[in-house]
Amino acid sequence: MTNTLPLPLSQVTPRPRVGRGVAAVLLSAAAERGDVERDEEIALMKRVGAGDAQAYRALSDHFLRRIVAYAQRLLGNPAEAEDVAQETFLRLWKQADSWKPQARLSTWLYRIAHNLCIDRIRRRRDTSPDHLERFSIGDRPSALMLRKQVADAVELALSGLPERQRAAIALSHYEGLSNPEIAEVLEVSVEAVESLLSRGRRALRKDLAALHAHLQQPAHEG
């Protein structure tokens, strides 16, 4: 029942895309719209492997925002997420030779970032106890306050999920990856991804049930 044909990222990602077109000389018009297609990926990565800084810049401009966002979803800490993103792009620069064109560049980068995040989460767990607190929403919060509180509640609920469920939800819901692409990033089967997503969504629905009533109130609009 799953989509076994990996679609171009542009077709599976409905959310706003990144692509500031800094290296306009290198990228085609399609790339500037945010569609770094497969051939372009391969060509640019060959150049990065040969030490071409402009090709590197084109790719880092294209992928930076997505890698930062993904790391934020996993770590829940913007500063740490930025460290992970920087390390991810350092590896892109230094290890471009080890990228195999069979894999999408985006999934390769997500996998690097994912592994770096997991290392940090595990180190964190070793040094500090899990101190998740239940979220609560005030009686009559302003619209802005409510929005912030809902976001905090979502962040907290996601951080309470097991690592792989959190990663699967982040890659599917926020990054718009298809299930086969998520399987590639997490290095598991597509069936395992479906199971992770299913368990993750059920747990989130349960954890966030209290928010539904608040979201129905007109106060949170605008």
Partner: protein, 165 residues
């Protein structure tokens, strides 16, 4: 797949896996899912709940990369310079290293074998010694020089190997 084939249980499973955006569902079940949600109140309610979850998740917006991060990422090639084309592909490097080493060993072996063959195999009779040809002795010296050159080449190869990553 028709609406009849898509049970409510399967519809719920698919909602959990793919979320409320039916466009992200497998193409063969999309129409059946839409039809079921339109005709079955329970399916419609489940879809609505899934949409609420998606909406709630969307409320957590990620922060864009800071200016400092953008600068640091852009400066990576400057901070970690690599000379274009300076590095041989690993297979080429390994191939030439192996080939050069093998050639050196073979050449040394041949040279040593050649020198060894010139040594008398058994004590020669005095008349046989007298018959030895002087040019043959000169040829042995040339081969000794050749051996020296090969040794030098081997050391050079070893030295340049260290320069390879």
């Amino acid at each position: 797949m028709t609406e009849e084939d898509l049970t409510l249980t399967r519809f719920t499973e698919l909602l959990d896996v793919h979320g409320a955006d039916l466009q992200r569902w497998p193409e063969p079940v999309r129409d059946a899912a839409r039809a079921l949600a339109a005709s079955d109140a329970q399916a419609a309610e489940l879809l609505q709940q899934a949409r609420q979850l998606d909406d709630v998740l969307d409320s957590w917006e990620s922060l864009p990369p800071s200016t400092e991060l953008q600068r640091a990422v852009a400066e990576i090639p400057l901070r970690h310079p690599r000379e274009a084309g300076a590095k041989l592909p690993w297979f080429l490097g390994a191939f030439w290293r192996t080939a050069l080493s093998a050639a050196t060993v073979v050449a040394l072996g041949c040279a040593a074998g050649s020198l060894g063959n010139d040594a008398p195999q058994a004590p020669a009779a005095p008349d046989q010694l007298a018959a030895l040809d002087p040019p043959e002795l000169e040829a042995t010296e040339e081969e000794t020089d050749e051996l020296d050159e090969l040794m030098e080449l081997a050391f050079l190869a070893e030295a340049s190997e260290e320069e390879w990553p």
